[in-house]
Amino acid sequence: MKRIVSILLVVVLGYFVYTSLYVDGFDMAVSDNRQTSISDAYITKSVTSENESVTYMESTDLENGSANIVTAIVTDYRSFDTLGEVTVLFLASIGVSMVLAGFTKKYQFKMKTNRILKTGARLVVGLALVLGVYMFTHGHLSPGGGFPGGSIIGASILMMYLSEENFRARMASFKWMESLAGTVYVLIGIIGLFVATYFLENFLPTGTVGALVSAGIIPIVYILIGLKVGSEVSGIIDQFLTEEVAS
């Protein structure tokens, strides 16, 4: 009965939302070739300077040098959001460790891992770590970036945890990394404020669009984010794979 009512309610809600979005003159449907002026400016990188078009490996010294436009938005145009996002993750990792404060002993799975798994895992972990690092260093050029990169690092740590019974990452160093990465991110912002004019301003030369060393602070920020996210995710994983010390 409860379920039927709930389903009914949800369906009614869906109907109302649907009609308000698509029927009552409020046009949410995908229109063709609709570019908002803002996104257009992001794509042509013409927010501060008048810029007709951007060409890969040709345009130089633009307001933003990232070939990946999403990255450009995430780490430059709306970098402040990203700082907040990092903070959320940071908070989550602190929160997890505070909530599970008594949980210190590593969780013992019932199933024992075998040698193949262990060896395979080590192999993959190395590759995965490299992949992660690649991801966040090339975030301004290709899909990916700090967050996926960091997550991949976290995933590799998880793999180690699962495959090796006694493996325990050194959380202290992760903490240092996390802390330093975060602090440096903020510092970069503040440097922007003092060296240039604005907080988080891209005060380095942006170089050529598409080059590895380009786009000013974007790669630095993404590396920091990658390190930070990686260490935070690892921290969370570490915390989750522990259990309460029986007292």
Binding site: S6, L9, V10, L13, F16, V17, T19, S20
Partner: protein
């Protein structure tokens, strides 16, 4: 000295009093005496033409005769009652706070009477209310303060709403301007009149808003009950006068349906006033606590005041004002005498006392004089006002209201006699054998108040002439007096003549009495007992359920307190229900509510 200076000075004094009281309780309580007395002195010296003084911010005052009249009444009461404060310092829980709030409530009332602006009026009204509210729990009851404040706030908010209705229409808070404009907006005007009327009813303790009066007056500290009954209740009368006399009520209501030549609304008000006379009287008759009894009598007397104000003619209005004055003085004196008894014996229950006249004759005399005034018996001030009111009732031919008024009047003989007989007369309880007369500084203010009652009962014309001037100020024909006689609609009253006649009669009786052989003095236990030997004064005293035969007749009366309790219970239940519905520990429920709300709003959007 200007009004502004007095009001601001009193407010400052209240803080000073607090600080001084922290150092020395006695000194602080002396300040509570000096404050009102000095202010009274200024008012009397400057007369009703006292300068209003420059405004401080929004605090702007305008001198009116009406305000002067009320202020002086209030100051007399406050000044006289304050003499009791030093004696209560060690009995109170928070003596410093008491002293501060005492002066603060005075400042509130005085400020209110002279306000030219509704907001200022409201500010001071609320100050008076909350200052007094905090004093009440120093007495016997904690709930009383809450009930008082809740009821009072109900009235205040009705008033506030009315103020803002007028503001919404006329864009101003200026009292005379706004009330003057009222006739142009009849619909608003009627609402304003009703709401302000409710405010007046609540403050005065008119049925059905009277329940706070016995609770608050009966349970407040003995030093503060006289203030509540004699002073603060009269705020309601002030508001009522404002509604009926200053606002063009009769003009607004002139097209409405008429009963007995009066607009229906006025007639309803009269009926409510009549009910409150009857209810107040009946409830007062059955009280065993002397303070509660006087409190209920205030309810009944408030009915008279409202009748007088509502009729708003030459005689009734002057009767109402005279009654305000007379009742303030008399009820303060009555409460003070009960307070004095309580000071010496620690109780105000009639059935626990008896024969106090032997120990406290002056207190007894003060009580006697004040109840004579409260019952409206010559030669006290209360008679003048009742006579004027009856004149007006008779000339309007309001027979039902009249019947209620007569009932209240006769009933007042009953209830005032109950403490007189049970508390002061009769057998003295053995445990009170060592009680002494009240201290001299408690006796002095009581005697002063009694003197005022008597003086204005014999020579009221000075006061009545002033009331006449107030009436003219309010746009009503003033009361006319000839020498010592008062001109009524259908007869003359010469209080002086009445007093002289009474004096002559008394002298005759005195002569007869003295010329005859002297009686032998015997003790109170030495009485006719039908040959029974009675040795215990406790069992030989008729004070418990004094009016049992009458009380039996209406013991099954509907209880208005239960009604209010039910209302409060409903609020509590509703709150519990809401809390039960909305505050579950299950997030799913909250999510459900969110979904439901969104659906409902969207649905509303679709429909309209």
């Amino acid at each position: 000295m200007t009004i502004t200076m007095i009001v601001v000075g009193l407010m400052a004094l209240s803080l000073v009093t607090y600080v001084v009281s922290k150092m020395s309780k006695g000194l602080g309580s002396v300040l509570t005496i000096l404050g009102p007395l000095v202010a009274l002195l200024f008012f009397l010296l400057e007369g009703s033409g006292i300068a209003s003084g420059s405004s401080i911010g929004i605090l702007q005052f305008g001198a009116t005769k009406l305000g002067w009249f009320f202020s002086v009444t209030m100051l007399i009461v406050y000044g006289c009652v304050a003499f009791f404060n030093p004696y209560w310092m060690k009995k109170l829980v928070h003596p410093s706070a008491y002293n501060m709030l005492y002066i603060l409530s005075l400042a509130g009332t005085i400020g209110m009477f002279f306000a030219v602006d509704f907001i200022v009026l409201f500010i001071f009204l609320e100050i008076a209310v909350f200052a007094s509210m905090f004093i009440i729990p120093f007495g016997k009851s904690r709930n009383a303060a809450v009930v008082y404040f809740a009821m009072s706030t109900f009235g205040s908010f009705a008033f506030l709403y009315a103020i803002f209705m007028m503001y919404g229409k006329f864009g101003s808070f200026d009292i005379s301007f706004v009330l003057g404009q009222l006739a142009t907006e009849p619909t608003t005007a009627i609402w304003v009149i009703i709401l302000m009327g409710i405010a007046a009813f609540v403050k005065l303790g008119i049925f059905p808003f009277h329940i706070w009066l016995p609770m608050a007056h009966g349970n407040a500290p003995d030093t503060f009950s006289p203030i509540l009954s004699g002073g603060l209740v009269k705020i309601g009368a002030f508001i009522a006068i404002m509604v009926v006399a200053i606002a063009p009520t009769y003009e607004v209501l002139k097209n409405s349906y008429e009963v007995m030549g009066l607009p229906i609304l006025i007639y309803i008000v009269l009926i409510i006033a009549a009910i409150s006379m009857v209810v107040g009287t009946l409830m007062a008759i059955k009280q065993d606590d002397a303070k509660k009894l006087i409190a209920y009598s205030s309810v009944a007397n408030a009915g008279y005041i409202i009748v007088g104000i509502a009729l708003n003619d030459q005689l009734s209005l002057s009767g109402a004002m005279m009654h305000i004055f007379a009742h303030a003085i008399a009820s303060a004196a009555a409460f003070l005498s009960i307070g004095a008894v309580s000071y010496r014996t620690g109780t105000t229950k009639i059935s626990e006392l008896g024969g106090m006249i032997q120990k406290m004759p002056i207190t007894y005399t003060v009580y006697l004089i004040s109840i004579i005034s409260m019952a409206g018996i010559p030669p006290m001030a209360g008679f003048i006002s009742k006579w004027l009111l009856f004149q007006s009732l008779a000339s309007h031919g309001l027979m039902f209201i009249g019947a209620a008024a007569f009932f209240g009047s006769v009933g007042s003989f009953l209830y005032v006699f109950r403490p007189l007989s049970g508390l002061f007369l009769g057998q003295l309880k053995p445990q009170h054998n060592h009680v002494k007369e009240a201290p001299i500084f408690m006796v002095v203010p009581m005697v002063i108040l009694s003197g005022i009652s008597l003086f204005f009962g014999v020579l009221p014309n000075g006061l009545l002439n002033f009331i006449g001037k107030i009436q003219v100020e309010l746009g009503v024909e003033g009361i006319t007096t000839v020498d010592t006689a008062i001109m009524g609609n259908n007869g003359l009253l010469d209080p002086t003549l009445v007093f002289i006649n009474f004096g002559l009669g008394f002298v005759k009786a005195f002569i007869i009495f003295m010329s005859l052989s002297k009686s032998r003095k015997v003790g109170l236990m030495d009485t006719y007992t039908a040959a029974e030997f009675v040795y215990d004064p406790n069992v030989y005293h008729y004070a418990k359920s004094y009016y049992a035969p009458i009380e039996r007749l209406y013991e099954k009366h509907p209880d208005i307190v239960a009604l209010y309790k039910g209302l409060v219970q409903r609020v509590v239940d509703l709150g519990r229900l809401l809390q039960f519905i909305f505050f579950k520990t299950k997030p799913g429920t909250t999510a459900l509510f969110i979904v439901l709300t969104i659906i409902l709003v969207l649905w509303g959007e679709k429909i309209w």
